[in-house]
Subunit: 392 residues, 2 copies
Amino acid sequence: MLPVTEHPQTIEEFRATIPALRNKAYMNFGAQGVLAQETMDAIGLSYSYVQEHGPLCGQMFGWLTEELRRTRKEFADEFHCAPEDIALTQSTTDGCNIVLWGLPWKASDNLVITDAEHSGVVASTAQIARRHHLNLSICPVSSQSDQQILEWLDKNLTGKTRLFLFSHILWTNGKTLPIKQMIDLCHSKGVLTLVDGAQSAGVLELDLPSCAADFYAVTGHKWLGGPEGIGALYVTAEAVEKLEPTFVGWRSCTFDAMGSPSGWENGAARYEVATAPVPLLAAMRKALTIRSRHSSAAERYQRLIDQAAKLRKALAGLAHVQCLSSELPTSGLVSFKVPGTSSSRLCAQLEGQQIIVRTISSPDCIRASLHYFTSDDDIGRLVAAVEAAGKS
Amino acid sequence: MLPVTEHPQTIEEFRATIPALRNKAYMNFGAQGVLAQETMDAIGLSYSYVQEHGPLCGQMFGWLTEELRRTRKEFADEFHCAPEDIALTQSTTDGCNIVLWGLPWKASDNLVITDAEHSGVVASTAQIARRHHLNLSICPVSSQSDQQILEWLDKNLTGKTRLFLFSHILWTNGKTLPIKQMIDLCHSKGVLTLVDGAQSAGVLELDLPSCAADFYAVTGHKWLGGPEGIGALYVTAEAVEKLEPTFVGWRSCTFDAMGSPSGWENGAARYEVATAPVPLLAAMRKALTIRSRHSSAAERYQRLIDQAAKLRKALAGLAHVQCLSSELPTSGLVSFKVPGTSSSRLCAQLEGQQIIVRTISSPDCIRASLHYFTSDDDIGRLVAAVEAAGKS
């Protein structure tokens, strides 16, 4: 099949095709992205196709296999890696769990995470540490310089450290970690690396082989604009050899003529399990494809951080606002607080005005997420509302 | 919210609302069920609702939580259990994996399955046995009498046996196992029981507390008529205490004001992980609800086995056909073969005539799955085609 050539489309034209943007200033992409009408249409078309031709028969089993293959390929193209390096998952957390539970842990092994991981990952690492009697260490990164982070790792990674799990972009304040240097340092000490890419996939242009991570987990439903429940886990060919499948089903294996399991699926697909909402995959691919209409990944990233910088600057100009994110944002996340005002109350108040952001519990703040197609008008509405809240 | 009162609807009226039945004789419900138009419409409506009101904000997080709660409740009503006993999963295999990996295995513990488990479950039990150094035993059930099965268990369950995993209805030949006696015998020996309900949920009227299984895993996308990728795992309150969560995420835990994990979710919901295709849940509930229009579960089951018996009888009347399923079917599965003819070739030939069944590898056969709404005409088409194939 020839690659689809996407026609150019202005950002204004694109915004007009996104139902979620019609009635609100949506700046919560770090929690969940928005579906373009075409992406939503792809969902309906898939379900209709499946019911008309199946739902399940010889022909449709072929279709299903091809849908899985095509979607792995599309994620692989996005991340500049081989399709064999991609497992389709449900979410970033799902991908992290596959890695956490697939390593050959021994009691008293050391697992390292950072002080700014997502609550779901904090919970999953706490559980594996408890069940496998691991030592869990916390690498401080939230307000450390790159140099300080590397020094901490150099000092604290030991012969017992098996895995370092860290986010590429911190979900709390939008800081981007120097992952290449961190990974190189880990590898020099024989430590595997699992990157939580929840806030980076669809933001940064990711060349996963170049950044040398062993494992990189992403979701499709935040910055990539796909439906909820579809994610991807990147596992290098070398790391596949070190990572056992844990949850296993008919998608993990090859089978002989008697229907008995005869081996693992080729590459990372062995970490896939069983029945999944395959009709959503066409929508995921549509979401991945649409973005190529809006210039290059590098240009989209530039626009995204330009928008984030505009918001950051405007908020910093309000005397009652305290910004937690860098003056020069490297991601779409801009976190701030209004000392003396409850972040939850302010967030709910903004939602009442159809301005959608979210709170973070620790550090207590409000987090706005700006995409490359966030408008100046949306930014202006948020700033004006925060300004007004300071006066009330 | 008041329970929805479903208006009565004849089976013919219902069939007319199912797109998949319009152009074919579909008898493959054991692989995947069909979506009624209303169920498909519920999918589109949910996605539109989510995009209009969110996709994610304070209000929509409340909606999402409520969708999860309502869907657990609907499954619980279906199985006559408490909503706290239900975890939402992706599939039967997913549910089985949650149980397999959540038990505190010790090396040389014994895990028992039957000789007629689904390939996905065979693969997952082989993997846990390999990684935890378990002894895996196979209880023969395919062509054994109830008495023989119970005798085997009585003789072979040992002090080392932790879990017996078996299907309620065998996916190969449609045989129904005497699960209450099997479970009672297991419990008398301190053995936990995990029932694979892939072929029983939506067929039998299931009262899970009465059958006393510790764990019962089902999928929504076969006999229950829901979308692919939604399943349920039943875990009794007592069994929750023995089963650790393995894959963990924000849905598994409660969190304190600082956003740190503070405990497990109440009941079986702790086995849920993270982001999932929540907009499909409304369709799952719609599918569960629709069936109440067609009399009681007992009457639907009677009609289903009546249809299976008709097919079984007609096939037995063909000299060249050998039936593998019982003369008096207790499920919708009717398996048969034509000695001297390749089952795969015959199955493909039937598919070419828009008659949809599937092959089973071991024992080599063709399996037709008949639902309560399967028509006499569909049965007649299959019988005529198999008869014609015998003459060609």
